[in-house]
């Protein structure tokens, strides 16, 4: 991570916008995911159940080899959302596996929806998807 500022000299008057850019691709991607289960209150889910369902989703679409990718559950929020960390190389596949997961082992319909994906954990603090056109 590198930060280019206007100048580190003494006169502070002209403030140019700062650009942040990653010098290399990050090794992990953080996904903020919500899980909805039909006829069930998803706020009651605990971490173990969440992890189990994520693994089930990966097994179903990607098979045993795909499910061997390390996925870390960092935080479970009360409203049925959580933050998971996946290796950036396999983000696309794991995300698709979550998207295509339709029903829990007990036969209830469920839906993983990725609310936000970012290579930086701090990036999850603000969601640019809620931006609207100024004209509308």
């Amino acid at each position: 991570m590198k930060c280019t500022t206007a100048a580190e000299n003494s006169n502070p008057v002209p403030v140019k916008p700062t650009n942040f850019y990653a010098e290399k691709t990050q090794s992990y991607v953080y996904l903020k995911t919500s899980l909805t289960i039909e006829d069930e209150n998803s706020s009651e889910l605990n971490g173990n159940q969440y992890k189990f369902l994520i693994l089930q989703a990966m097994k179903e679409t990607l098979g045993q080899v795909g499910a061997a990718t390390p996925v870390d559950l960092l935080k479970v929020f009360g409203d049925g959302t959580c933050i998971i960390r996946v290796p950036s190389r396999s983000t696309e596949k794991i995300w698709a596996a979550l998207t295509l997961y339709g029903s829990t082992p007990s036969g209830k319909r469920c839906a993983f929806r990725v609310i936000h994906a970012s290579p930086f954990l701090l990036g999850l603090a603000f969601n640019s998807r809620n931006h609207r056109d100024a004209t509308s």
Binding site: A96, T99, L100, Y101, V114, H131
Partner: protein, 321 residues
């Protein structure tokens, strides 16, 4: 740069209550353009014409949501737009002439689902439709050939992939992924749209999920985004062009103008007023008081919703057969 408008062009028609639930969630997750799909399996009656009557086709106004519920959705997303879509299954190449009938043409989008090679060829090369959707849930039974697909894309027809059947069954999921991969490798990622076909709210995924799914199907980032935004817009433009033939100018009734197109009326009126004023200046005998009072009334009406209720405004309508 304007934000893309994400579209889901396949929400199967059900009762108004359940479709309302689906649309609520669609709007909630980020879709702004939604087409309600009326699937009529058999467009033509069977060979025993005495036994089976022609299937009834509902007019699009019946399948669309009423104004009060769309207004609620518009409050959430101001650009929200609902469209009507008609889909039929082609199982006989001879059963296509009813596609041109006025009750089918009343729909915004027309789609066909070919079932074998013959009908697929017909749909790609001659039929006047906007979308070709294939039954990806099982083995297609014929191969998708590059020249035909190229021809269809050249004619502005798009191919549809629906993902929601994949959520229910594992073998169906496998079939959908493999068929989608084939289609995208043959079409090289062009002319593809991805839609949900969601019957329940739980089947709806957010536009970004769908984009990622498109990447799994073999599209790149841009193509995946186009599959739910730009290509869907192209479908609508194609549908519009189908109704007006080849054209550079089309004439519509003033009542059909969208709110963001009202400026056309405004400018044409101001021009007319300035012309009128120059005429009245030339002829001082004509009463100028009437004109001014009319103008103020008109301007008030312009701001309100019912522009088309004004008797003075000349309505133009062009019937293109």
């Amino acid at each position: 740069m304007a934000l893309p408008i994400y579209a889901d062009l396949n929400i199967p028609y059900q009762s108004a209550g359940s479709i309302q639930e689906v649309l609520d969630l669609c709007v909630d997750v980020g879709f702004e353009r939604v087409a309600i799909n009326n699937v009529v399996k058999n467009l033509q009656s069977g060979k025993n014409k005495k036994q089976a009557a022609k299937p009834q086709i509902l007019p699009p106004t019946q399948i669309l949501l009423n104004k009060s519920s769309t207004d609620a959705l518009k409050a959430q997303r101001p650009k929200f737009q609902q469209l009507s879509r008609f889909t039929t299954i082609l199982d006989d190449a001879a059963n296509t002439h009813r596609l041109g009938s006025p009750e089918v043409q009343a729909y915004d989008i027309i789609a066909v689902q070919p079932t074998d090679e013959k009908t697929f060829q017909l749909a790609c090369s001659t039929l006047d439709v906007d979308i070709i959707c294939l039954n990806f849930t099982e083995n297609l039974g014929f191969s998708l050939k590059r020249p035909l697909i190229k021809l269809a894309i050249k004619r502005g027809i798009h191919f549809e992939i629906s993902y929601s059947p994949a959520l229910k069954d594992n073998s169906v999921k496998r079939n959908i992924i493999s068929n989608a991969l084939t289609l995208i490798s043959v079409s090289r990622g062009k002319g593809v749209i991805i839609s949900s076909a969601a019957e329940k709210p739980i089947d709806v995924r957010s536009p970004w999920d769908v984009m990622n799914l498109g990447k799994l199907f073999g599209l790149n980032q841009t193509q995946a985004k186009d599959a739910i935004s730009r290509n869907c817009r192209a479908v609508l433009k194609h549908a519009e062009a189908r109704k007006t033939c080849k054209t550079v100018i089309s004439v519509t009734a003033a009542s059909n103008l969208r709110p963001d197109e009202r400026w056309i009326l405004q400018t044409s009126r101001t021009e007319a007023i300035s012309q009128q004023k120059s005429i009245t200046q030339d002829n001082p005998e004509s009463s100028s008081e009437e004109d001014s009072s009319d103008d103020s009334e008109d301007n008030e009406n312009m701001d309100s919703e019912n522009v088309h209720d004004q008797p003075e405004r000349k309505k133009l309508k062009l019937d293109v057969s």
